[in-house]
Subunit: 340 residues, 2 copies
């Protein structure tokens, strides 16, 4: 079964310099993939020529005249830029011309536009951002990573259901263990929202593993970790910042003198294997779940390697039909609730 | 000027095995330090004998018959254990027999008991937990790390004032740069509480640096980072968990085969220098600020080296008279507000 994905070719810190080579690489890797590059036709064509690549059977260009900048207010982008590369890519999902779209652009604008164009699934108040993080035992999916602030207990439960279904579908893992992020594991710990959410999780059909603390995320104690977007975003970025600091100190320590440089050379293969395990580029590609369609957010600073991974995430989401699954499950839960 | 500190000798995962040797080491290091070991007299004496150490001029034992366990509900500990080592250590601060106390015990019980016995300073609603984290440029103080959940904008401002004064006093750094932890740096980002708090910070006399994102904490962009205890605790623990995972992967990678083991040996000095920079034990010792007295929380799993550092934090707090400074500054701010 072939998969067609629309790429916001202009999005991200480096736009076409990243999206076009990543598209070319992905087409080489996936024989049944079709890509639609959405953006300024001339610029895309020029970039394709530079790569000695033609638009052809599996690679088409779809013109869009506008570009949303990285710091543009989402509401303004939504109101004024109807022909932006981001919006047109999302439109292609809406019309069925593409089965998913990917953007490395402005997160707020992507969220606002995707909600406006695709609408949320019945039973979902707000979409959430979910992505995989490395753990000692493999990886864990965490949501929400910043689509929402001040989530209600009911919304946290919706996040839990969506995360569970996504992991079940894309990883073929039945009944993933879902935990709620909290400041302690005892019942009395946490704020009111988390406590109420825990009650809802307990009553749900999810494989609920109770509370999880920040340090246990990386120990691999859960398959899905649920939190409000404010908390999730800060935990994610704090972890990124710490990893960057450790890497900075490592470089500094090995550059200290001739001996440490030699030691650094010797240690390189082992260090590379560690870096590979925790490389955020390998985990690039967050899903905006809860929408009538598949929208993948790439990190704005993604390079070609990272953006290729976002394309892989999109392919997996299309293959496992995540939105349809979430829609069906929510409907059956509502029918069950209505009958009970 | 001599400094007298009361130690909850029974607190923490390993109790006397850690607190007594750490006390002995601290007395060797600081000639003008006096310590009061609070807890079960017989057990403390036995431990001192094991270390071939006498209670003497600068080390006294103060009997307390009860111990609060690590998982005991704070309210119950407060109500029923009036002669616990933790409570008696705090009482010694209240009566002036000690200028500070340190406990590695149950955080919730310590917070509840300290608030009950010492009371908060006028103008402070709730105490906060503050500690230093390493950064690329030195370190940063972060609060609140878990004393409160659901803080109001006014409480966040109080945290900011306390953090600023603590850093100014203990680090001789005038007008520390205070930032608010948020999910973005633009004005529109964040939840309502953070937005309102930002207004209050802007109107205050603090050196307010605006919003800071999770990853920038470790870049060293701020001297003080303010957040709600729920967010702060999760960011702290997520960072701890990530550091542990990286260290685990490193060990694994260097133990892979004979070659990597040799490389590991070569790389050891450089890796040790990095580990030293980010070692949480070097940063052990969090202050409960906002109380009429100095209370230092050690990590429950602290070893002797880490607990010694908590003693150093307590000495610095006594020397720089943190509670008095906070009290005076708040009073002068209230007088100014009343006059304006």
């Amino acid at each position: 079964m072939s998969v067609t994905i629309a790429l916001d070719a202009m999005g991200g810190d480096r736009g076409l310099q990243v999206t076009v080579p990543a598209a070319a690489a992905a087409l080489r890797e996936h024989a049944d993939l079709r890509l639609i590059l959405v953006g300024q036709q001339d610029e895309i064509s020029a970039q394709l020529r530079r790569l000695k690549r033609d638009a052809g059977d599996r690679l088409t260009v779809h013109h869009a005249s506008e570009v949303i900048s990285m710091d543009e207010p989402p509401a303004q982008a939504l109101r004024t830029k109807k022909d932006s590369s981001m919006r047109v890519a999302i439109n292609l999902v809406k019309t069925g011309e593409a089965q998913a779209c990917i953007s490395a652009g402005n997160t707020g604008a992507l969220m606002a536009t995707a909600r406006f164009v695709l609408k949320t699934l019945p039973g979902i108040d707000r979409p959430a951002i979910i992505t995989a993080w490395p753990t000692m035992r493999g990886h864990v999916h965490v949501l929400d990573l910043g689509a929402n602030v001040d989530s209600t207990p009911e919304q946290l439960l919706q996040f839990g259901i969506m995360g569970s279904l996504l992991v079940e579908a894309t990883e073929s893992k039945p009944a993933p263990r879902v935990c709620l992020l909290n400041v302690g594991v005892e019942d009395i710990k946490g704020n009111e929202t988390v406590k109420k959410a825990s009650e809802l999780f307990r009553q749900s059909s999810l494989n609920y593993g109770g509370y999880i603390e920040g340090d246990e995320i990386f120990a691999g104690a859960a398959d899905v970790v649920v939190c409000d977007g404010f908390v999730g975003n800060i935990a994610m970025k704090a972890s990124e910042g710490l990893a960057r600091m450790i890497s900075h100190f490592m470089k500094e320590a090995f550059m200290h003198n001739v001996l440490t440089r030699f030691a650094g050379l010797m240690a390189m293969p082992a260090m590379r294997s560690v870096r590979k395990k925790v490389d955020p580029r390998r985990y690039n590609g967050a899903s905006l779940v809860g929408l009538n369609g598949i929208v993948i957010k790439s990190h704005g600073s993604a390079d070609v390697y990272a953006f290729e991974n976002a394309i892989r995430v999109a392919i997996a989401a299309v293959r496992s039909q995540v939105p349809q699954l979430i829609g069906t499950r929510l409907q059956s839960m509502q029918v069950r609730n209505a009958n009970s």
